[in-house]
Amino acid sequence: MARIDDVIAVGANGKAYMDFFNEAHQGQIQSITRVSEKGIILYTVPNKSSIGSDISGQKHVREILTGHKPVVSDVFRTVQGKDGVALHVPVFRGREFKGTIAIVVDFENLARRYIEVIRVGETGCAWVVSHNGTMLYSPVPGFTGRSIFDISREYPSLAVFAKEMVRGGEGSSSYEFDRIGPRKVAPFREHGVFLPIRLGNTFWSVAVASSEAEVVASLASFRNRLILAMCAAIFGGVVLSAMGVKAFVIVREEGKRRQAEEGLKESEARYRELFERNPAPILIYEKGTFRILSVNEAFLSVYGYDAVDVESLRLPDLYPEGEKEAIVALAARLTGHAYVGEWHHIRKDGSIMAIVVMSHDITYRGCKARIGVITDITERKRAENQLSELKETLEEKVHLRTAELEKANATLAELDRLKSLFIASMSHELRTPMNSIIGFSGILLQGLAGPLNPEQEKQLGMVMVSARHLLELITDIIDLSKIEAGKIALSVEPFDLVKTARETMDGFRIQAEQKSLSLAFEAPERLVIEADARRVRQVLINLVGNAVKFTEKGNVSVSVEETGGTATVSVRDTGPGIRPEDMGMLFRQFSQVGTPESPKHEGTGLGLYLSRKLANLMGGDIRAESAYGRGTVFIASLPVSRGKDSS
């Protein structure tokens, strides 16, 4: 650095160094100059005459004096008559700007060393312009140093190219030109690229151009080579992939085939196993010839044949005479679809078995064949036969039993008819002697046949009571039979229920007085209802008779009333009453409700049952309410009008 300081100081050492530097770079630099901060040349080698001259007026010198940054001058014609470029670098002592050191470079020399070597093919060349358009280097003699805008007056398209260059950007374009190096040729299109080289305060733009023909040719060749390469690549690729695919397919197919073969072998083995070891006999016969092609083990064991026997067998041979024709006819018709049929097969030993065969078309060793699976249904058939025999027996039995039942039914019906007939005839036959007994007893008691002594009268009275009771019993039974046979005829007519009730009660007056019972009657003046008056009377006699019979003290009251179309006759007594648990027995036939302490009363046990039946027949009912130990009330209800539901 001491040398630089010396140069800055422009002392003897500095001057000596500058001299030395100039000599050392002879040919490359044209001069080395020390310029003061005011732009005055302090020292310069080799042209010492210009020392002391003021160069601050030059543009690039002004720039460095104010900007203190390295600058490059435009190309200028030096005092030596050569094109040069001045490079100024600022120098400082401490921080103080002390002017510049400038080197003028021989441009042609520079260009020759760095730019001329840029050759592109036959026609390519490089050229450089400075930022103001000065042609710094051109392969065309005489162009260097001139303004490119002057040159491009002759070449308008070059002007456009040049303008792009001095703008400082980079790019590519084309222009018309007519020189190749120093040679003048026919105008051609030149393609060029340009880019700037930054140099401190300025830039140079370097263009590299080449003729279109050459560019296109190289591009074409490139393209051709590219196409060729592409083609080769594509072809290679195609061939390769085709080969690959083919290989892949082959490999895979091979794998599949092997797999399929293995599968086939396996499934063949499996099916062969299924066929051979199947517990059901299986046979395969050829269609048309009915030749047995194959049978399984079960077939041999069930039929008793050996493999050699089977070779000569035909399908019809298995069938008994009666079925041979039918099976041949049927088998000739069978195609494809599964067939199921019941037949008989003959074993080798001649025994016959019932079978079910299921068959289907197959191809067997290239033959059109049919496979049949056979089930021995001998046992099933036997069971079926047994079942059907049983069924027949059962049907027979059912038939027989039905006939028996029908007969029994007929007998019952006959018996029923006979019973009705019996009752009808007995009703007369039973009454007739009773009439005699009662009638003659009555005559004797009345003294019509002469006087009786007291004992005779007493005993005859007993005969009379018993006879009346017996007649009552007979009458009740006959009535009941008729009701149950639905043969009772009602004689419905309007009558005064009040009158009937009063007369009924009056009929028991003597009997009540004998027991010191008081009788009470409560009723409207008249109540006409439509019913069978005699049957109503029969019911009321039963109810009042019961009340008087069972009541030992107190009273019996009869009341008649009508509510909402229903007439009711209530017969209330102060008798022993009925226990709640006995209420259900009241209206049962042949039942009498009593108390242990009360005496057994004479009665048929049919009265209430019959009364209720009669009331029901007339569209009414009888119900009872009782307080045990205090008394009972029987309420007979009857519709006032029979209306439309007249029986």
Binding site: H428, S436, G439, A449, D479, A489
Partner: protein, 123 residues
């Protein structure tokens, strides 16, 4: 004294009825069948007929109908003797021409009273 025709197939009942009627001082004519009853009713022209309904051959109803068809029997009172079981036929009996009816079993007191009333009613 009146002449009373009794049509009754049962001889004990016949005896019973006739015994009562005779004790009442009447004369009895007896018929044991319906046919005989009709014949005697026309021939003897009794003052009253007691007709049992259940008879062998033609029954009491039919006999009554026939008696009523004759000139001799068209006005005579005919009292049916019926049983309790026959009550459904009461209308029918009156329709065929019976004047009234007496129910079995025969009570001497009742029959005497009834017969007296039927005889009195006769014009």
């Amino acid at each position: 004294m009146k002449r009373i025709l009794v049509v009754e197939d049962n001889d004990r009942n016949m005896y019973l009825i006739c015994f009562i009627l005779e004790r009442m001082g009447h004369e009895t004519i007896r018929a044991e069948t319906g046919e005989a009853g009709v014949e005697l009713a026309i021939r003897e022209k009794p003052d009253l007929i007691l007709m049992d309904i259940q008879l062998p051959g033609i029954d009491g109803q039919e006999a009554t109908r026939r008696i009523r068809l004759s000139d001799e029997g068209k006005d005579v009172p005919i009292v049916a003797i019926t049983s309790h079981a026959m009550t459904g036929d009461r209308e029918r009996l009156l329709n065929v021409g019976c004047t009234g009816y007496i129910e079995k079993p025969i009570n001497p007191e009742t029959i005497m009273r009834e017969i007296a009333s039927f005889l009195e009613a006769k014009p």
